[in-house]
Each structure stands twice: as C-alpha cells, then as structure tokens.
Symmetry: C2
Subunit: 197 residues, 2 copies
Amino acid sequence: MPRQVDHQERREAIARALWRVVEQRGVLDLSMREVAQEAGISLGQLQHYFASRREMLSFAMDSASAQTAARVGRGLDALGDRPHPRDVLRLMLTETLPLHADARTTSRMSAAYVVEALHDEGIHARARDGLLQGRASMEQLIRDAIADGYLGADRDPVIETSLLLALTGFTTLIELDAVEPREVLTAVDRYLDRLFS
Amino acid sequence: MPRQVDHQERREAIARALWRVVEQRGVLDLSMREVAQEAGISLGQLQHYFASRREMLSFAMDSASAQTAARVGRGLDALGDRPHPRDVLRLMLTETLPLHADARTTSRMSAAYVVEALHDEGIHARARDGLLQGRASMEQLIRDAIADGYLGADRDPVIETSLLLALTGFTTLIELDAVEPREVLTAVDRYLDRLFS
C-alpha cells in the first residue's frame, strides 16, 4: 500500500515539475531529460515512473484537468445548494482562462497538450475525448436550464455549448496582454446576460 | 533591382517551407536546420536570409497574416460595394479559423507564433501589436455599424470586439475534431444574428 501511494505521489511531483517547465520555458523544451532535471531526479528514475514522453504528458494533462475540476468544484460549493445555471457556466468558463496563477498553469498545460495533439494521434484522441466530455457536461447543463425555464426554449443546446466553449479563445487575448482580466469578466458577463435574457 | 526581388522571393519560399514544417511536424521541430532542409538549402544559405530563428518566424508570421488579409480582401470584393457589416465580421472571423486548407496553414502558423510569444519577449511584443491592430480595425467596423444604425446604440464596441475575437477559440474545437465545420458556421451565424438583432 505505502509503495503504491509513494508511486502516485512521485508521479504527481513529476507532473508539477513538467508544468513548471511548460510555464517557464514552453513546450519546445519539454523533453523527458528537461523534466527529470526540473524534478531533481535522473532520466532513468523518471523513466521508471513514465515509460514515454506521451505517457508523462498525458498524466500531467489529466492532473491539470483534475485541478481545474477541483477549482470549479470549490466555486460550486461557494454558490450554495441550488446555483443559478448562469453562475455555473460562468465558473466553468472563467476557470479555464488564465486569469490567475493556478489557472494559468493548467491553461498552459492544456495549450501544450493541444499543440502536441496536432502531431500525435494518441494525444489527439485523448485531448478530443477530454474536450467532448467537457462539452457533454456543459450541454447537459444547458438542456437542464432550458427544461427548468432559466433559458429560452428557442436556445439550441448544441450551438450554445459550442459558442461557450469557443469563448475559451480569450486565452490568447489574455496571454498576449491584449485585454485586461477585468475586461474579460465584463465581456463574459455581457455574453451570459444576452444568453439568459 | 532583380537582386532585391530575388531576395524577397527566396524569403517567401523559405516562409512557405517553414509553414510546411509547422503543418506537418509542429512547432517542436521548428529549428532553422529543419526549415533549411525543408526548403532544400543549406543552413548557411538560410542564415543569409534570416539572421535568427526569431527573425525567420516573424517574417513567416507576417507573411501568413498578409495571406489571411488577402483572403479577407477577396471575400470583401465578392460582397460588392456596400457590404453589410454582419457579412464583413463573419468573413474576418471565419477566415482566421482552420476551416479550409489555406486557412489551416495560416492558423497553425499563428498558433505556433503565440506559443513562442509565451517565452520570447520580442515575439510577444510583435504578436501583441498584430492582435491589437486586428482588434482596432474590428472595433472601428463595429463603431461604424452602430453609427450607421446596423447595430443597436446599446452595444459596447470594446466588449463586442473582445467577444468576437474570443470566438477564435473555435480553432481548438476544429483542430481536435470536436465540432464539424458546418456546426461552426451555424454557431457563428447564430451569434451574429443575436448581435445584430
């Protein structure tokens, strides 16, 4: 048992080292050697925990997704027992944007994973699955909001989900300092006001 | 004169080789050596045209932006003398999305440039300037649309511009095959209908 726990803990520590490399030096330097160095272990030790660069990246991505989900979960708890779907959608969208340090780390990890997906079929399939899962849960939320009368029955759940997911394009605007975080939140609120009007 | 033309032509040919590397193998392999090989010249010859990786990338990005602008320009010509601002915004947005082969090449070049920008101040500044220029011209179009009565006077040009630019987040959904191109166009049309209603 303790051995198993150690193994998982060590993998999490390596994932955090990987994020630091992504955060500081980008995906270009994301070799296993680079991550081992950042984690303070040898390449051989790293290979004991991850057989390949792809396996390491996928674990780090899963771990980043879990962190984002945990942030959304904490936000949901703060919204109380029966949160308004508008507030839930706002939380789901804004926690994927690099608007604060933790979200920036997971956002950059996610961007690095998408870049890898363009040239690695295995990563493409995993990234696609993750995105489709997120899409399905957002679509269900919108369907429920329509059924509960929060959203007009004329709203198409598929289209509204696509548009909300597309707004993650704020990521590039934020990373290039082309918008202030405050402006992003104002724009997201304006968008949600219009959707729920 | 011919010497100058040759120089520019050769630089364009190298930019196209660079796009092919980005298209086929991603930004990870985007070394000057890799691009020289793809362009069928020696590294020394490449360095005669571009002193650094950054200079080469920036030229290729400018060239990609010029191609996107040319596609938008041809689309505008097809819209006739006084195009509806809705059609102009639709064109500006959809031509930046990887919905067809040419747009995919320039979209991937642009994504590669943003990834580089996160870890290179010079590229960050250039990418930011390019984005702010695009933002300014879209904002002016929206201001004109309000002045001409196409758009309600209650629309905030800054917020509407941010939201339209954020919709370039469709890029990730398209690249991960999480939406059909047809769905993207339907969603963009629904968005613009709501904006102009």
